[in-house]
C-alpha cells in the first residue's frame, strides 16, 4: 500500500474550488463543434492515462490474488498469467489453518487501532493549539514539528528501544502503541486543514461560551471529517502493516503483528519450504481488513463538506 497515492482532502477549500469550477463550466456558452471534438479527444487522453495509471496501481494486488490460487510450479512457469489454470480456493483455507492468522490480524488491528486513536487525538489537539490559540511560542512549536519531519525514522530506533526498555515495555503491545503515538504527519496535515476553518466560527463559539476542547470537538472536527478519515486511514494502514519496528520490539510468538507473523511462518521458519502460493494467500488475507476499512472510509473522504457557513 503506498500512501502517496491517496489524494489528501484539505478541508473545504478544494470542494468549493471544484464547485466554482463546475459553475464556470455551466455558465459557458454553447461551443462550436471543433472545440467539442478537441475537448472529447483531451478527455480520451486523460481517461486512458488515468486508466493506465490505475492498472499499474492495481496490478500487484491482482497478481498477488492470482498467485495465491496457482500452484507453486505454475507461479514460476507462467508468472504473468493473471488467470490461473485452476482456481484453487482451498489454498486460502489451508493457509489460514496453518498459522494463527486470526490472532495476528487481531494483534495488528488492536495495535493499529489504539495507536491511530491516540495519534488522532493528540494531533488534533496540537494542531488546534498552533492554529487557533494565541501564544508566543506557537511558531517555534510548529518549526520543531517540521524539523522532526525531516528526521529519518530509523535514527529513532535505538533511543526509543532504550527508553522502552527502561520503562519495561519491550515485547508488549503497550510499548508498541506508546512508541508510535505521536505523528508528525498528523500534526502537519491537520494544521493545514484547521487553517481553513474560518476564525469567525471559533470566535462565535467562544462568545457562545464553549471552552477550547468543546470548540475543537463540536465545531472544528465535524467540519474536517474528510481529513480525519484520511488521517485515520493512513495512520491505521501504516501501523497495521508496520514491520521493522515491531520485529525489533516483539519477541513472543503470540504477540506478533501480521507482517512479522507472515514472515516467521512462511519464510523464516521454512517448514513449508518457500511456498509462494501460500505466502500470496497469507498476504491477501492480511490486506483484506484494510480493504474493508478503506471502503468504509472512502465515502467520508470523498463526500467532503458542502459549505463552511461563512460568506467570504
Amino acid at each position: 500500500m503506498s500512501t502517496q497515492s491517496i489524494d489528501l482532502p484539505l478541508g473545504n477549500y478544494q470542494v468549493q474550488q471544484q464547485q466554482a469550477d463546475k459553475k464556470q463550466k455551466l455558465a459557458k456558452p454553447a461551443t462550436p463543434v471543433s472545440t467539442l471534438l478537441k475537448s472529447a479527444s483531451s478527455l480520451l487522453v486523460k481517461h486512458s492515462f488515468l486508466s493506465f495509471a490505475g492498472l499499474i496501481m492495481v496490478f500487484p494486488f491482482v497478481w498477488m490474488l492470482s498467485g495465491s490460487m496457482k500452484s507453486n510450479d505454475e507461479i514460476f512457469s507462467n508468472p504473468l498469467n493473471i488467470f490461473p489454470e485452476q482456481f484453487r480456493w482451498q489454498t486460502f483455507v489451508e493457509t489460514f489453518e496453518s498459522a494463527p492468522f486470526g490472532l495476528y490480524i487481531m494483534n495488528s488491528f488492536t495495535v493499529a487501532f489504539f495507536t491511530t486513536l491516540i495519534v488522532m487525538i493528540n494531533s488534533a489537539m496540537f494542531a488546534y493549539a498552533i492554529t487557533q490559540l494565541k501564544f508566543k511560542s506557537r511558531t517555534v512549536l510548529y518549526f520543531i514539528v517540521m524539523a522532526c519531519y525531516m528526521l529519518p525514522g530509523a535514527v529513532t530506533y535505538i533511543p526509543s528501544y532504550i527508553t522502552l526498555a527502561n520503562l519495561g515495555l519491550l515485547d508488549s503491545h503497550t510499548g508498541l502503541i506508546i512508541s508510535n503515538a505521536a505523528s508528525v504527519f498528523g500534526v502537519f496535515y491537520l494544521r493545514q486543514v484547521f487553517l481553513k476553518v474560518h476564525p469567525s466560527l471559533i470566535e462565535a463559539a467562544r462568545i457562545d461560551g464553549a471552552g477550547e476542547v468543546k470548540i475543537l470537538w463540536a465545531i472544528v472536527l465535524p467540519q474536517c471529517k474528510a481529513a480525519l478519515a484520511t488521517l485515520f486511514l493512513i495512520t491505521f494502514i501504516t501501523n497495521y502493516n508496520s514491520y521493522m519496528w515491531p520485529s525489533l520490539l516483539i519477541t513472543s510468538q503470540d504477540l506478533n503483528l501480521i507482517a512479522t507473523g507472515i514472515r516467521q511462518f512462511f519464510i523464516a521458519e521454512g517448514n513449508y519450504g518457500l511456498n509462494w502460493s501460500q505466502i500470496m494467500a497469507a498476504s491477501t488475507i492480511a490486506v483484506m481488513p484494510l480493504l474493508i476499512l478503506f471502503i468504509i472510509c472512502q465515502k467520508t473522504i470523498l463526500s467532503g463538506i458542502a459549505d463552511n457557513g461563512v460568506k467570504e
Binding site: H198, S200, L201, E203, A204, A205, R206, I207, D208, G209, A210, K214, A218, I219, P222, Q223, I305, A306, D307, N308, G309, V310, K311, E312
Partner: protein, 379 residues
Amino acid sequence: MAEVILRQVEKVYPNGFKAVHGIDLTIHEGEFMVFVGPSGCAKSTTLRMIAGLEDISDGQIMIGNKCVNNLPPKDRGISMVFQNYALYPHMSVYENMAFGLKQQKINKREIERRISDAAETLEITHLLASKPGEMSGGQRQRVALGRAMVRKPDVFLFDEPLSNLDAKLRVSTRISIAQLHHDLKAEGQNATMIYVTHDQVEAMTLGDRICVLDQGKIMQVDTPMNLYHSPANKFVAGFIGSPAMNLLRATVNQENDATYIQLDNGAKFLLPSEKAEKVTGKIGQQVWFGLRPEHISLVAPSTEAATAQEQNIELTYIKVVESMGNEMYLYCALGQEQIIARCHFDPKINIQHSESHYMHFDMSHCHLFDIDTEMALVN
C-alpha cells in the same frame, strides 16, 4: 441593562501597529451606538476589544459597572453578529441557536421556548431544520441575528452585518434590526447595541448616536442630525453626507463692514452676520469653506441676467449631470475648483453637460473650519 464605558482604550497589535489611540466613550444603557469610519479606522478592532476577542493593550472597558478587561467573551454578557454570519455549517438552524444556550446549561424547555420566540420574530420558523448551506444570505443573517437574540445579552455587537447582502435585502434586514431594538425595549429588555458599519445610510438611520472614527481616534460622537448639521471638524463634514460636502480652501475677507469668503479664483460669497461674528479673528486668513451640495442651487435661466450681479451667485461650467429621477447631481467646475450641486429635478429646466449655468450658494448653511486644526469655526 448595561452601560458600556471605554476609558483611554488603546490597541497595539503584536506586529507593533498601533490601531487604536486612546478612545473615551460612554454608551448608555439601551442605546443604539453606531461606529462609522473609513476602512482601516479600527472600528472592528474596537468592537472586538469590547467583545473580548482582542486583548486591550491599555485603558479599561466597563460593561454594566464591571471592568471586563480580563473576562473571557462568554462572561461579558454580549452577543455578536458577524459580517460573514459565522453559522456553524454542520448544525441545523435550531442547533446553531441552541449551541450557546446549551453551554450555559439552560434547560431544554426554556431553550425551545426562546428559539421558537426568536424564530417567530425573525420569520425563520420554517428554516429551523435546515443547514446554513441551504439558505440564502438574507436568511443566514437572520439566523445569525436569532442566535444572538436567544442568549438575551445585555449588549449586542454587530460587525458590518449587512455588507454581504444585496441592496434590497440590506434595507429590509436593516429595518429588522431597528425593529428588534424597539421590540426588546418594549419587552423591558433594554439591550445596548453597538453596530459597526462603513455605510453612512445605515449609520444615520439606525443610530441613536454615531461615533465617527478615523485612524483609531474618535472624531465626533453625536446624534445623526447633529453630525450632519454641526460637524465638529472637517473630517466629519466630509465623511457624513452623500454626495459629500464641498470643501474648498478660501480666505476670510472684510470689505465695507461685510465679511466675505473669497475663493482662490476670485469668487466671493457674503457671510451672514451671525456667522461672520464667529470669524472676526480670522480676517485675512485661510480657512476651509464647506457647503453641502443641496445648498447650491440652479438659478432659473429666465432670471439669470437680472440676478447675475446679485450676491452669492456664480457662473459654473457643468461637466457631468447625474439624474436620480427625483433629483440631479451636477458636477461643476468653478474656476479650477470642483463642486457638486444637488438640485430637485424640474422638467421645465433642461440641463445638459458642457454648459455654463448660474448657481446660488446658500451661505446661511455654510461651514468654516480652521485650516490647521480642521476644527469647526462656524457651523
